[in-house]
Subunit: 335 residues, 2 copies
DNA sequence: GCGGGCGTCGGGAACGTTAACAACGTGTGC
DNA sequence: GCACACGTTGTTAACGTTCCCGACGCCCGC
């Protein structure tokens, strides 16, 4: 900047004003400064800018998700990025693998960079250090799951109710041997979905056979293995609920392998769900909507909104596709 | 920091040393400082740190992709993030939508934040400002596509050859009416894949009917529409090559709608490609490998590697799945 | 006993920018 | 003709940290 000032024969303040498009610089001088900038390839140093700036905004937010490679989270990330781009903000992305330790590392690293805010898919037990960071002024919005016991804006879907109606769909179709595939029970969404599953069964006076319930499924491969176990039972289920997109994909694979004709309902939609065999009925979430809402909430906080913490519950959509819509084992695709 | 120093009864320098784990501070003082830090909730300001620091590393890199919501790029992003996490670096993510203007905005914003380096999926015509940033010291690695005429590390796959062998597979299967679905021709991968398509046909003395070639397909929906157009031709193709994962998904959808039995080969693998009907043979890329290689290359540059620019060409894998492996229209799934 | 090396600590400057204000020249109103 | 406002420009200080160097006390060897 000093070099530019010297080259243009002005003071560094004039350069600063030109760079920031401030009013109050003569046309002639501004042009001279801009020429010098171009010639010297000068570029404003946002680090110093933010350090000195009165309202210390870094124009950067952090997005902390389970796994950015999961299409659900990457769609959400894209929505967040678009909202941020609209106000010239940047997005740091971090994956936690649902590991509290890695989450803490990522959050701490983001905060050391002085992000203006954080959109977090919280892992169990992360309220503590999130609260610490919030006390230091970082705005936080939770998405997909709440942070237990933390007064913070949250965007979620009604996991329990929508799972309940998905299971009810199966029950109405005549299924009563319904298996459950779910993630680790320390994950809120898994607990909610399991609760919905139990509630739907209980409403008909049913309880699941212990062998039908598979917790802690963390990948498509594990889901496939779990499904093969279910199929190997002497009394296999006639329908399976799978707790997220990865599990559903794994389950579809395993069911196909076995040539089994078992109804499948999954949480989360995925491309070509209507084209695989068996076709899969899903509880469709709207990851883009979740991300956009979370970003909007966060930016309003960053812009000074001090109202009490809000919780936004977004709607899901039950998309019927063969599985689960007709009585007995699904035969929809052969009809 | 001043507050911490005062609270601990030491100078700000001692605090700095403790925070950075520097040697040369008495145990007793270090403990006192750490207590003060904990009590006051002090957190190092990396902005100021990086501003003053001699080797100006921000410990942050930028990843610029077409669309982070595309599973190909999100898998790549995850690989980059893992490499970065291993050395305590952070990743800024930006999507360009293959829009040169947005790409320039994103790159400029990243560089203003003084990222140590950039992993870029370059859009056509971006060599200019990338060169500018490189001259200013930002390390750059291109991935998925080269930046035309730019001396820069690059990680790509052999698009042309692998498309050629995919098409040859169809030709060997007896297909000669093979349609092509491809992205905008200003995108390098699209040009390469198209060249491979033409080369494979030319090797048999064939040329595609103009109606069989669809350029500029940018989404699954557009691919589906293109496929429907192809099917509506008086002389429809017996096989279709689709130029990326999104197009393949769209094509599968459209083919299913029409109940058509047309061989489909796609570039990029996708989940459940073996389960959809028709099953899809694919040229599988390894997005994780691409991302990891690009990140490794970038970090070696950041760490001072000044050797000439390298180009890494990664292998693809032709995954045969029904479509294209038997003569005539694919009947694999009904076998 | 005393000089010098070493380990520990602090003071001041500097990084590149913006905030605050002062200085300057010009035009305007009385 | 003079005070005053206003628009433009420059000067100085500050943001929070690290770098550089000097100061201080201590121990050791002569």
């Amino acid at each position: 900047m000093k070099d530019v000032a010297r080259a243009a024969g002005v003071s560094h303040m004039t350069v600063s004003r030109v760079v920031n498009g401030d009013a109050g610089v003569t046309k002639e001088r501004a042009v001279r400064v801009e020429e010098a900038i171009k010639e010297l390839g000068y570029q404003r140093n946002d680090l110093a800018r933010q350090l000195r700036s009165k309202r210390p905004r870094t124009g950067t937010i952090g997005l902390v998700v389970d796994d950015i490679a999961n299409p659900f989270y990457s769609a959400l990330a894209r929505a967040v990025e678009d909202e941020a781009h609209g106000r010239d903000d940047l997005v740091l992305v971090g994956s936690t693998n649902d590991d509290p330790h890695r989450e803490q590392e990522v959050v701490a690293a983001f905060c050391a960079r002085r992000v203006d805010g954080l959109i977090v898919v919280p892992v169990a037990g992360s309220q503590g250090f999130l609260a610490t960071q919030m006390a230091l002024g970082t705005k936080v919005v939770c998405v997909d799951r709440p942070a237990d016991g933390l007064e913070v804006d949250t965007v979620v879907v009604d996991n329990r109710t929508s799972t309940e109606s998905a299971i009810r769909q199966l029950l109405d179709g005549g299924h009563c041997r319904i298996a459950y595939l779910g993630d680790r029970q320390d994950i809120w969404t898994a607990r909610e979905r399991y609760a919905g599953y139990l509630a739907a069964l209980a409403a008909r006076g049913l309880r699941p056979a212990p062998a039908y319930v598979k917790h802690g499924v963390r990948s498509a491969a594990q889901a496939a293995a779990a499904v093969r176990e279910l199929l190997a039972l002497s009394d296999p289920p006639s329908a399976i609920f799978s707790g997220n997109n990865l599990m559903t994909i794994g389950a579809v694979g395993a069911l196909g392998d076995e040539g089994a004709r078992i109804a499948l309902i999954g949480f989360d939609d995925f491309p070509l769900a209507e084209r695989v065999s068996p076709a899969v009925t899903v509880v469709a979430q709207d990851p883009i909507g979740l991300g956009a809402s979370a970003a909007a909430l966060l930016f309003s906080r960053i812009d000074g909104d001090r109202s009490p913490a809000r919780t936004v519950v977004m709607q899901t959509r039950l998309v019927l596709r063969g599985s689960g819509e007709i009585p007995g084992p699904s035969l929809a695709r052969s009809a």
